[in-house]
Amino acid sequence: MGMRDFVLRRAGVCIVTIFAVITVNFFLFRVMPASPVDMLVSPLLGEGVGGTETKEELIRSLGLDKPLWMQFVIYIQNVFTGNFGYSFITPRPVIGIISDGLLNTMVLMLAGNMLAILMAIVLGVLAAWKRGSRTDVMSLTLALTLSSMPMFWVGGIILMILSVRLGMFPLFGTTTIGLSHPNVLSYMVDYLHHLFLPMVTMGLVSFGGLFLITRSALVDVFSEDYIITAKAVGMSNRTTIFRNALRNAMLPLITMIAVRLGFMIGGSVLTETVFSWPGLGWIIYNAVNMRDYPILQGAFMIITIVVVLANFAADIIYGYLDPRVRVGASTHA
């Protein structure tokens, strides 16, 4: 059994999961106590966005009069053609609004988590190597405390201190309103300037859990026999840690990152709301407040699919790093 079979197997699971997610998403909005008619139709009537069609016409055009299974099939088709309907509030297709936000969320997630992973590895190695020392205890305390804080609160405090009080960073958005950018560079600088605080917030909160896992994995690895072998063979500490130990400790770390992806997306929702960072999270927040259900449903769908795909990618990376896994054990327990 090699990489290829492994990848195929994981891809199969990924596809099944996506289908399950689509199904769940479909039923979530149809089998709610509030009938789909109320949720999807009434707002259109009231706002007049749908024009002057009657309720019946609207119901028919949205396909809500067809039997459930048929609606389901249509829904699947829609998902694959990217048709998520239209927003209630602005007459734009949902997919357009979502794709705008997707990029910003990706940037934030990537930046924030890279920061978190970097900090987690650096401190994790230090803490595990000097287990029980003051460095270790302090890092542990820091990580535990950070992960017990509400993410939006941390963001709020950072905003309050660094932006409101000290004025070092902007209050919201990705770029300064009204500022024109003569070239790409100035745009990027402005963007990064706006990105900094949300990125730090995401990094700080993700850091807690990641540090704990890294440290714990490294502590385990450091106590393994092959580390003693490495030392006996005459490897320097640095080579031992970075080449041998970390490679093994990466494995639980990657699994952990994959598992926490969902959690981190949630964090992104909160952080984006605090900093008014126009990503998917912020879109969801606004959709919730305005009861804009098509957007809510579409954004949720996209977020979930992205997470599933990211999990898949993590599985593949894990399979590359740990040869033992390719032989075909099932992934749970």
């Binding site: 509400p150 709020g156 309050m160 992806l261 909160l270 605090v274 809510l296 949720f300 749970h332």
Partner: protein, 293 residues
């Protein structure tokens, strides 16, 4: 219950308490929790403000801390200290109930899955995998937005997203217990499935479930706070999360009303830390994979 079993349970409880007392983290966590639970339960005796929590004196709105209002006032003039004390009730209650329910669901799923195996295991584990992949907060947001944000709805929404971890852990434990000789011998004697589960498996996994639940309480409190912040809290019940929500929406950040923002957050952090410490201490005592760290 026979008297012999009572004696065993009482002795086990004694051992457990002794071990718990030796855990410094556990004691610390427990003390923190005791403090907050105390202030929550006795909020109406402790709150020294003359106005009740639901009334506010508008002329005193948004005051920084002063001798008459130790933590200042909110945007309608209510004493924040009182609000926070009462808020503890809601936050703790929601956390506790949500953790209990999600722990129950998780334990049930893990038990059935681990014990019966076969297709039940496959189906349940697939379902768990899928639930684990779906991002928690977005799902909670969607559910809360469509179902409404009453007290019990919020608890439901949080529980429905939190049971997967417990399910996995319980299943693993059941699987390992299933292989033990004592289960085999009990089966050979002819015990029925429900007897094996109820009498032999449950007492062994119960401590693990409890340890899990305790940690989940902290997570549930954070989830409730996040939901409240996003506007999906119960407007009739002022949890710490709701307090923060109002703080944010009345411009506490830009207006620099730090007394509004900081205390509720600190309370949440401390309480979650408390549950984490206690849960960790419990886990050390209870987890069969005990390894010296």
């Amino acid at each position: 219950m026979s008297s012999a079993r009572l004696v065993i349970y009482r002795r086990r409880l004694g051992d457990f308490l002794k071990q718990f007392r030796e855990s410094r983290l556990g004691i610390l966590g427990f003390s923190i929790l005791l403090f907050f639970i105390f202030t929550a339960v006795f909020a109406n005796y402790l709150s020294h403000s003359s106005t009740k929590a639901t009334e506010g004196v508008l002329s005193e709105r948004l005051q920084p801390p002063s001798p008459s209002h130790w933590l200042g006032t909110d945007e309608v003039g209510r004493d924040l200290l009182t609000l926070i004390m009462y808020g503890g009730r809601i936050s703790l209650l929601i956390g506790l109930l949500a953790a209990l329910i999600s722990g129950g669901i998780g334990a049930l799923v893990g038990l059935i899955s681990g014990f019966y195996g076969g297709w039940k295991d496959d189906v349940l584990m697939r379902g768990t995998d899928i639930m684990m992949v779906i991002p928690g907060l977005p799902l909670m947001v969607v559910l809360a937005a469509t179902l409404g944000t009453s007290f019990w709805n919020i608890i439901f929404v949080i529980s429905i997203t939190g049971w997967t971890g417990t399910a996995r852990i319980v299943r693993a434990q059941v699987l390992s217990l299933k292989e033990r000789p004592f289960i085999e011998s009990v089966r050979a004697i002819g015990a029925s499935d429900s007897r094996i589960i109820g009498l032999h498996l449950l007492p062994n996994i119960f401590p693990l479930i409890v340890a899990e639940m305790v940690i989940r309480i902290g997570i549930a409190i954070l989830s409730e706070a996040s939901l409240a912040f996003l506007g999906l809290g119960d407007p009739l019940n002022i949890s710490w999360g709701m307090t923060l929500n109002w703080a944010f929406s009345c411009g506490a950040l830009s207006g620099n009303y730090w007394w509004y923002i900081i205390p509720p957050g600190i309370c949440i952090t401390l309480v979650v830390l408390g549950f984490t410490f206690v849960g960790y201490a419990l886990d050390q005592i209870v987890n069969p994979r005990i390894r010296r760290r």
